[in-house]
């Protein structure tokens, strides 16, 4: 499987020396990916604000440009022009590095997200493992930010962040393994190509576990404990302003975009779809996933810390393990031509497991209200 970038490099080798033919298309590809990410992130910010407004019977931003589409740009200009304040007692160097460490891994995730057929920066054969590994790095950035700010609230936020990420990484990875078992490859392109039926239909339970885990990983409501405005003001970016705050802000929406892309790739059959061009299908799917995220944000209240932790360890982790076992047995026993059996079985299993789990799930031995 050759990607578009590989073909471009091969074509350039006919004219240029080998090193130039390798570096120039790579840099061009990186720039294209960054431009794509920033465009979609700007759209996401506008889309979330408008949609959240509509969910709350407001209009949302509608002044700046047609339907307020330039509002995120105006916000960005405002943020960039603000004074960059560093607290007196802050650890200046770490305070400076932290936003970069948060932002860069999020951009790096997009290297392996296939936007269209062959439109992927690198087709790593361990693509999804690369995503899991890279996306964990930004947590260190968040903890660095919270520590270097020398602020109680941001430190609490950093502690919460570590606990949350460590807990939710497990169910997320286990539900990814279910997908990998059926697809038979770690490569993102091969996973998409394996989906003649979208994996959300084959593994509904895996999708639910991955989606909820991903919500926690990207710090979105109802798992946005580390920037819980009503408890710890703004969490880890409480002492940040100007450009550095913009990095956190972009990173927040960037990681939402990255996980929307990963969910699309793993469960919603990526760019595949009838009728429309692949890139349009990909955009429709990532926007649909983000709309679902915004919808949940508009509806659900924030969880308590103990609820959050027990939801990960007592709720998602057993379900992820059971899902993995079920999928593994099914992959062994059911031939690939009879995937509809898997479809029916897994929906039945998902319904039974969710009902059973919600009956058994308690906090503090049943003494604490869920």
């Amino acid at each position: 499987m050759t990607t578009l970038l590989d073909q471009f490099q091969l074509w350039l080798k006919g004219f240029w020396p080998e090193w130039a033919a390798y570096i120039v298309p790579a840099i061009a590809g990186i720039l294209v990916i960054i431009a794509f990410v920033l465009t979609i992130v700007i759209f996401y910010i506008w889309w979330e604000r408008r949609l959240l407004g509509r969910f709350q019977i407001r209009t949302g931003p509608n002044r700046c440009g047609p339907e307020g589409i330039f509002q995120p740009i105006a916000t960005a200009v405002k943020i960039l022009l603000k004074e960059d304040i560093v607290p007196d007692k802050a650890d200046k160097l770490i305070h400076f590095i932290a936003p970069i460490i948060v932002f860069v891994p999020i951009l790096m995730i997009f290297a392996v997200i296939p936007i269209s057929e062959g439109a992927i920066l690198v087709d790593l054969n361990v693509g999804i493992i690369y995503v899991v590994a890279i996306s964990s790095i930004s947590i260190i950035g968040i903890f660095m930010a919270s520590w270097a700010s020398n602020n109680k609230y941001s430190l609490i936020s950093g502690m919460r962040s570590i606990a949350q990420m460590v807990s939710y990484e497990l169910p997320v990875v286990l539900s990814i393994v279910g997908v990998v078992l059926v697809a038979g490859s770690f490569s993102m392109l091969k996973i998409v190509e394996a989906q003649t039926i979208p994996f959300i239909l084959l593994q509904p339970l895996g999708f639910i576990v991955f989606f909820l885990g991903a919500l926690a990983e990207m710090n979105r409501s109802p798992f946005d404990l580390l920037e819980a405005d009503s408890e710890i003001v703004a969490g880890y970016h409480i002492e940040y302003s100007g450009m550095k705050f913009a990095m956190f802000y972009l990173g927040e929406y960037g990681v939402a975009l990255a996980y929307a892309g990963i969910i699309t790739t793993l469960f919603l059959s990526g760019w595949q779809g009838p009728g429309l061009p692949p890139i349009i299908w990909f955009l429709i799917k990532i926007i649909a996933v983000f709309t679902l995220i915004v919808w949940m944000r508009a509806t659900l209240p924030r969880l308590r810390v103990d609820q959050l932790m027990s939801f990960a360890w007592k709720g998602l982790l057993p379900m992820a393990v059971l899902n993995l076992v079920i999928v593994a047995v099914e992959v062994l026993l059911i031939p690939a031509s009879m995937q509809w059996v898997m479809f029916i079985l897994n929906f039945a299993f998902a319904a039974v497991l969710i009902l059973l789990w919600s009956k058994l799930f308690t906090l503090g031995g049943g003494r604490v209200e869920v």
Binding site: G53, Q56, R58, T59, W295, A298, T299, I354
Partner: protein
């Protein structure tokens, strides 16, 4: 069995927020759309009726800010002629005490509430600016005789009958607020 625990409560909440998408926004797009204010609003810019005013200066005495300046001179009869009636609306707190104290109904609160000015001096209202004009109407605060002529207070609501495009003013009294009808 508690069915709330099987995600029914979450589903119900999600359905509620989803239904909100099809309701009209409650926001009033202010410069384009305006609500009709209360008929008894204590709006800015008092209205002064020179033909009723006797120049007794009761309003000036009752003003907690000492904000009203009245200069009069007596004519041949028993009347006073008002030479100067001045009010600094920048210092006025719109308490309405001058209106309430006027024995001859010669003062009324204004209906207008958009009185931003570029110069501080423009806030000082002289005799000419205080008289009734088309855009300077008295409100019915403590002056019930004006109440009949004024429009009723209203809210903006989506109107399905107009093809969902136009907004209509809904009077408060019908009690249908938020029905989305």
């Amino acid at each position: 069995m508690k069915f709330e625990r099987y995600g029914i409560g979450i589903a119900r909440g999600m359905a509620l927020t989803f239904r909100h998408l099809f309701r009209s926004p409650i926001t009033v797009q202010y410069p384009e759309q305006k609500l009709v204010t209360s008929r008894r609003i204590r709006g800015n810019e008092l209205v002064w009726f020179p033909e009723k005013c006797t120049g007794c200066a009761t309003c000036a005495k009752s003003c907690p800010q000492g904000n009203i300046v009245i200069v009069t001179h007596g004519d041949e009869g028993s009347k006073f002629i008002v030479d100067k009636f001045e009010l600094d609306s920048g210092r006025c707190m719109f308490c309405g005490l001058c209106v309430e104290s006027c024995p001859y109904d010669a003062l009324a609160m204004g209906l207008n509430y958009e009185c931003a000015k570029y110069r501080r001096g423009d806030l000082v209202l002289s005799k000419e600016k205080l008289t009734v004009a088309a855009d300077h109407q008295p409100s019915a605060y403590y002056r019930p005789q004006f109440e009949g002529k004024l429009p009723k207070q209203s809210l903006l609501l989506w109107n399905k009958a107009d093809g969902g495009q136009k907004l209509r003013f809904l009077p408060l009294s019908t009690r249908k607020r938020g029905s989305g009808a």
